[in-house]
Subunit: 224 residues, 2 copies
DNA sequence: CCTATCGGATACGTTCCTGTATCGGATACG
DNA sequence: CGTATCCGATACAGGAACGTATCCGATAGG
């Protein structure tokens, strides 16, 4: 059997229109392995996933994998690095889009929920990202090494988010009645919790979540 | 080799002083298998845990396991049932303890954080329970069957908690400025998040968490 | 005390996955 | 166009965990 026709890259499975296709051969296979890992890890979990399954999904054999990564954990780590980078980049873009430099018309209080959603709704495939992120957290809770990285990334995310939320609140003519840091954590927590609960209840309806977020933000702020 | 001396039950590993030791032989081994599963699942995760490891930890061979459970998933399910029952029972007891029938002296606002902690601080080994619960949620997100059970148990928990929190707030002379249901979810969310973050940051200090909870409760309520 | 049943131990065969060592086609470069 | 290097495919043990079939000591009932 000839070395398997290179499989014309599964037509970019409705994801990652953001990343430019890398040029070198090695990078391409790495990228395809990461794509496959993203799918498989989300479907079956990291621990239950076999290297074989990931390779098969990517259209490779294990030879390709062991030529690019030493272990499954290293693959997972690389995946997190890639996706986290994307999420932060997307967050930056959305910050610029939602709150442009020039002082635009002040925000309506009733649109705060939309604003929060607009900020947090990062990854294209929410379900996948939610699953992998939860898994990541669990791994971090067990492995101190991973734990440190989780903390670092989490801090980075918060550092990007908090000042933005303050600006948004100001522009909406509101002020948080809590430590802003804590307030952001509360809102993010509600968002995450609401998301997973929606997934579990099978409700694809984001309206409820938006309303709840708006209510929480309203409750945590007062007119400045 | 004689059928392995029954190993005098590992001296009840600092947990479950609550359950009375069951009498029949079968129940005892079941119980010991569940204890071991609790440990192993928390340490390595359900997926990564092998039936063998659990049996070994319990002082049995796989024969005992397959005589009591069909699959690892069934074992996990039984474990959840047992622990969830304990958590709910403990919650009920704490409700009675913290808010006895007769109208006691009204609560100080500043002690709300303690109250919340007192209510939520259920299981003796927080770390273990946190890990297993997270794992449970992940399994639920992937398996609709488990998902339904998660939702049911979650609702049951909330149904027990919400009226209590309302009473507590009343007795403290405060009123929620949100839908109480949502408010409780917010507080529980902050608690959970704070807990896992504390675990990840290695801070065993519950003072910070208590302060944050109190602040959130204060922000979400007004004097009645 | 004797016997029947139960429950856990033991001993298999099987399946799946891993990791390495080697081979051969593809790509880059002169 | 030819050659060297790279990189993924293939082949090969080895190991780990699974599930079952069977055995035998322990417990309960008479």
């Amino acid at each position: 059997m000839p070395p398997a026709p290179p499989v014309p890259a599964p037509a970019a499975p409705a994801g990652t229109p953001r990343r430019p296709a890398p040029s070198s051969r090695r990078e391409r296979t790495r990228e395809r392995l990461l794509d496959a890992a993203y799918e498989v890890f989300a479907e079956t979990g990291v621990a239950a996933a076999s290297v074989e399954e990931v390779c098969e999904r990517a259209g490779f054999t294990r030879g390709a994998f062991y030529s690019n990564f030493a272990t499954k954990e290293e693959l997972f780590s690389a995946l997190l690095e890639r996706e986290n980078g994307d999420v932060l980049a997307a967050l930056g873009e959305r910050i610029d889009a939602l709150l442009p430099e020039g002082d635009a018309p002040p925000l309506d209080e009733s649109r705060l929920g939309d604003l929060v959603l607009g900020l947090l709704e990062g990854p294209s495939d929410l379900r996948r990202w939610c699953l992998v992120e939860n898994e990541w957290q669990l791994v971090a809770l067990r492995d101190p090494e991973v734990g440190r990285r989780w903390v670092a990334d989490h801090d980075r995310f918060m550092d990007a988010l908090v000042p933005l939320v303050r600006r948004a609140a100001e522009r909406a003519g509101r002020r948080f009645v809590l430590d802003p840091d804590l307030a952001v954590r509360v809102v993010v927590g509600v968002y995450r919790e609401g998301l997973t609960e929606a997934m579990l209840r099978g409700a694809e309806d984001p309206a409820r979540l938006r309303a709840e977020l708006a209510e929480v933000v309203r409750a945590l702020t007062v007119a400045a």
